[in-house]
Symmetry: C2
Subunit: 411 residues, 2 copies
């Protein structure tokens, strides 16, 4: 191993939040602060926009005890953005500006924490710096509750959302089975293109407190079949619980949530209440049953009080591994996980080529979806269960979470 | 104290579930099982309907270790009902049947766990048994997340819902402040007639992570003022978060959630997505901002994983006190709490006259609502904060809650 580059680092967060994105942040920041080669640790305020606008937060100025609270503070503590960087061959304005900032602060390490788009950003910056001959290590740190990054066994953030979804569904199951008068419950989970999160509802069936049916966006949604499924189960049990992905779509590709007309709504305007409310209305008209639609909404991606301890540890490890890899001379890579489950769960970090990760969506394997397209198989449960083990070390004050409060000193 | 009556007891659960109603159940069941005077402990399956239909569960047959899990199992483990018993002077059919069942099983103690309607049921049964000269002790055990029972300082179930609401709002606050592009968030809490639960959102402001405004149903809702509040705060901070009660209503008494026409919906039909979705649409049209409506729905009343330790202990204590009071010869009473907060929080159980409790709704004091009618005062926070202290002793298996699974042996 060569002597590592000496210089500053920038860490940024991008895309939608998760319960554990700050655990990754802490992995990067703490490891960078501890390194003798990294001279200064900057946090980009609102991701790459913070770099472009020269809004860098000095992590060295923060209280180490406060930084530790990042382990259980949800959402992006440094602020996030959804800024899609241009193709440098078309417009290299942003890249010139990033280079200017890197030179101004002597930045030799850049760590970016996000999903597909963020890995694309990472990849482009890395390639540009190599092209112009600026010596800099660029490593991506994965984050997405959607669990759709290519290569890695799973993505930091997914497991905590999965644990929250399964826990909440078990609790709602109890609530929905309390009367003997019959009830249908439709629970909407996130996942526009991938069904991982909705599939996590199946974990609740380990104790028999989960959904009767699970509908994911990897296969086409058939409203008639859905209504037949639900009606039959309701007639049999006087109860039916369903988990649906926000991204379920008809065979023509149109989202069910955007259906402009339906049995109950012929006014030709979009319904406001989202998919769960729409399906609840359709089912109510069909069955006459008491029907409740529940949208887990933002709660599923920020419920840090119910985060997976395993997810927190692995998120931290991925941030730490990113810094260690960069110090070892690696660049243009994303940290991911390689796991085995045969003799107990074992997880290790591994580097993946950014160019292979960027902009490719990893979906739920079709063979993990049942033949009737209304459930997921035991293979998924075996895959997912180890990820949700363990609890958060969250500290509470006044009976409520005591999240990290950064001083946010600008450079 | 006279020698207690010897005989069986029936315990029943009624009305909407809560996270801790089973902690009260455990208080009753364990104390009754331990009593030398109570010969048999029956659980009514689906409340008073279980008594009327002779569906009684034998609690003596359950594994004591399993029963202990009731402390952290949400919803009504014995099943609930929403059965309004008739006035005995008009129709005494139900009462004759209840007497028949009491005689069949030699029932000398009846404990009923619920809200206003359930206390009314208790009161009527108690009066009827006295009238016909059947020696029986009838004690109500309070339960309602709505916190609207008369006399008692607070109601078992409220604090756990309050803790969940405040926790979730703190987490959503973090999520909604992650971008620098502006956002308005509207969070809908339960409480059709009383604003206690929505007021609990204010607890999140202890750490500055709570709503800008809180709207409760104790005062009339003014849509123009609401839009002015939200717009001004959004223009100032590029962000605004609001907590609203499902029961907010206009000056004419009509619920905002049932408004058939609005700025965005002139089609004259009820919107499906509930109040949060409706207000989000109105605010979006007014401001052009990114707006998200979140309905906490059933989650707030069944999220046992986030229950208040204090609430669990007090719920257990109220069930225990009910049995002890009955053994001591009391009848026609409800157990409630008397609390002091001056030198640290102190809570004791006390008996209240059922006739005074039944069918009276205890609302949020008007002096705890600010003059602008868009927030609650420090007095509410001082009242509520001690109630949400402490965590649940919930045991997990496979990283998920391990709820109580009763054998449910019928008598």
């Amino acid at each position: 191993m060569n002597t590592p580059l000496k210089g500053a680092c920038i860490f940024g967060q991008s895309g939608g939040p998760s319960s554990v994105i700050n655990a990754s942040a802490y992995g990067v920041i703490k490891t960078a602060l501890d390194s003798e080669y990294i001279t200064k640790v900057y946090g980009a305020n609102h991701g790459i926009k913070g770099v472009l606008e020269d809004r860098l937060l000095v992590m060295d100025e923060e209280d180490p005890k406060e930084l530790e609270r990042l382990l259980y503070t949800p959402s992006s503590a440094l602020g996030s953005c959804r800024y899609k960087i241009a193709d440098p061959d078309v417009d290299d304005t942003d890249y010139k500006r990033i280079l200017e900032i890197f030179q101004k602060y002597d930045v030799r390490y850049f760590f970016y924490n996000g999903g597909n788009d963020s890995m694309d950003t990472c990849n482009k910056i890395s390639k540009y710096m190599a092209k112009v001959g600026y010596d800099c290590r660029v490593i991506g740190v994965p984050k997405t509750i959607d669990n759709d990054l290519f290569g890695t066994d799973h993505c930091p953030g997914f497991a905590s959302a999965a644990k929250y979804i399964a826990t909440s569904i078990m609790e709602v199951y109890r609530d929905c089975h309390v009367y003997d008068t019959g009830m249908i419950t439709i629970i909407e989970c996130m996942g526009r293109h991938a069904g991982w999160l909705t599939a996590a509802a199946e974990l609740a069936n380990l104790s028999g407190e989960g959904p009767d049916f699970v509908y994911v966006p990897e296969v086409d949604f058939d409203m008639d079949q859905f209504l037949a499924d639900v009606t039959a189960r309701y007639e049999q049990n006087k109860n039916c619980m369903v988990a649906v992905s926000e991204g379920i779509h008809y065979a023509d590709g149109s989202f069910v949530s955007e259906a402009k007309t339906s049995a109950t709504d012929g006014f030709g305007h979009a319904q406001l209440g989202g998919l769960a409310a729409h399906l609840a209305a359709v089912v109510k008209e069909k069955t006459g049953a008491k029907v409740r639609g529940i949208e887990l909404s933002l709660l599923q991606r920020c419920a840090a009080h119910c985060a997976s301890g395993t997810d927190i540890q692995e998120s931290f490890a991925s941030g730490k591994a990113a810094v260690e890899a960069a110090l070892a001379g690696e660049t243009d890579k994303m940290v991911g996980f390689v796991c085995t489950r045969e003799n107990g769960y074992h997880c290790e970090t591994k580097l993946f080529e950014l160019s292979k990760v960027a902009n490719f969506e990893q979906k739920l394997p079709l063979e993990w979806i049942n033949d009737a397209h209304n459930g997921v198989t035991k293979e998924f449960v075996d895959y997912c269960l180890p990820l949700i083990q363990g609890e958060t070390p969250m500290v509470k004050e006044n009976g409520l979470p005591r999240f990290c409060h950064l001083k946010k000193v600008f450079a």
